[in-house]
Amino acid sequence: MPRILLLLPTTTYRTEAFLASAGQLDVEVTVGSEHPNALARLNPTALLTLNFSDPEQAARQVVEFAAEHPIDAVVAVDDQVTLAAAAICQALSLRQNSVESVLAAGNKHRMRQLFERAGVPSPRFKLYRLDSDMEVLAGQMHYPSVVKPLGLSGSQGVIRVDDEPQFVRAVDRLTKILQAESEKLKGDQAEKEPSLTSHFLVEDFISGPEVALEGILSRGQLHVLALLDKPDPLDGPFFEETIYVTPSRLPTDVQEQITRSTGEAARALGLSEGPIHAELRLGTDGPSVIEVNARSIGGQCSHVLKFGTGISLEELIIQHALDDDFELPNRESQPAGVMMIPIPRAGKLKQVHGLRDAEAVTGIERVTISAHLGQKLVPLPEGSVYLGFLFARASSVDAVETALREAHARLQFEIEPFNSDAESTKKPLEPINTDVAFRN
């Protein structure tokens, strides 16, 4: 029976989905995480602790492990493990993206350079040091622009600026975010690329709708799994993802351009194997590639994607990792969508109301509150968590979008402000349904 190594960071949203999918296949599973599982000593062949911030060390450790327990495929679940996966696969001579290509995908400046060199349409950009004189730099910028870190994900630290004072404030804010995230950004990649913590990127703001493309690369060939529209305008100042719907409502020729640009972008980075998640803006000049990541869609959003007769995205990724001749089925034809529930304000989550009402909306398939009661919630650009996820399926994309908006409107979140004991309730709330499971 083949063995897969699942690289699962302890903070990933996707543990349940990947374990469930792996459980459906005839495979032995070894889980690699950056912290030891409390029960690791009871099952050392299934539970490995790997230092993801030092991919070469992780690779050496896995090579030693694989000498006794051969590994047939490595699956990276999220951004923070893609580099370790590439290093491990290189050491084991397994089919995967090269370390260089994953490094490029993890550094927005390097990514922009490679896109520019390959002629891939993407925003104009410039790199600056965080310790520059911002008052001087502010006068040299074109507005509107977007200030962004080189290494974070999920729109964390990404801020639109429309004038000089906003630019100065945005960079100050980004500097603080990078200081707060320094623990995450240290490690092998940061040592190889010190610019991740010392520099930032300023790029043109491209006005227009945004889309996401989910695909799988096989020997460098892009297979599109889904093209997802983002109906909420992402005009800043922060770029909080909310609704994704699929299939796309864009004209076929535009969809083809998006696919073409994504394939060119992946090639420019040198990515050749496994899942990719691309974000593109549709400006007046056509699709512009914002980024291509060497991983699948984040959060719990993958739940919305089913293939063939109901195969999950995770199962498809594992099957493909084990067998590159695996025939990738098409996405089911029914329109579907997901809403990442935004954090309305900073504070501590006290209670969630309206779950049953939200679940009762026609087309709503599942409501998941992934934040736990008592959790400290921080909105973008500093934060990196979602309150939860809404999932819908319906006969049309419009109906999916309507269902997601209606369900979201029925949810109420009691959030206690930080540094205050005051209750944040503004009006009487319905009794909480204690028998409603927050997580499915």
Binding site: T11, L19, A38, L39, L47, T309, H372
Partner: protein
């Protein structure tokens, strides 16, 4: 009674699991879980079901047969084979779980006692280092129900701990245990050890 008159309704729960409800009891007022082909050896209905390609687990409860499968076979296709197996079994007039099979597994009381020993001696001392605890809630037939508390409740790694820690420890200690089910309301966890984030 003829095979033709037996109505069976299939209801996929996930793409790997489907519940088949039969219009009459197949294992009256009882339930039993077969986790693999070997465990089903000599069990009339389960043995027939495990003979179908892709079947990986069978739970028989009163008038329901829940089948877990692996691979790409579609439920409407494999479901026909499962329906035929159930009808053949009913026609055979044999018990779904024979006394011989039942004697192979420990009694409910014995499973309870041994699971509790594993939890006390092997599991809780380790998970307590993460502020967690595991409780045995119940054992029905050979199905074990556990609950996670403290740092394990709502933890982003709870599924890993359950599948590759708790299950492994219990199965290594006790032969014949069926499903091990987590009945925790993870959403109510107030202090999970690992909190999911988009980082």
């Amino acid at each position: 009674m003829t095979e033709d008159h037996i109505a069976i309704t299939g209801e996929p729960i996930t793409d790997a699991m489907c519940r088949f409800t039969v219009d009459r009891p197949v294992y009256p007022e009882k339930s039993f879980y077969f986790g693999d082909k070997e465990q089903a050896d000599g069990a009339n209905l389960a043995e027939r079901l495990f003979a179908i390609e892709g079947v990986r687990g069978v739970q028989i409860s009163h008038d329901q047969v829940t089948v877990r499968k692996a691979g790409m076979a579609e439920w409407p296709v494999i479901g026909k084979e499962i329906g035929n197996a159930i009808r053949e079994f009913i026609a055979s007039d044999q018990p779904a779980v024979s006394d011989e099979i039942r004697q192979r597994i420990p009694s409910v009381e014995e499973i309870k006692e041994r699971v509790q020993q594993v939890i006390d001696a092997e599991i809780n001392p380790s998970v307590s280092q993460h502020g967690g605890m595991i409780r045995l809630i119940d054992v029905k037939e050979n199905v074990v129900y556990i609950q996670m508390g403290g740092g394990c409740q709502g933890c982003g790694q709870a599924d890993v701990t359950l599948k590759y820690g708790i299950e492994t420890a219990i199965r290594a200690a006790i032969d014949g245990v069926g499903d091990i089910l987590d009945v925790t309301d993870h959403a109510s966890g107030r202090n999970p050890y690992y909190v999911p984030s988009n980082k």
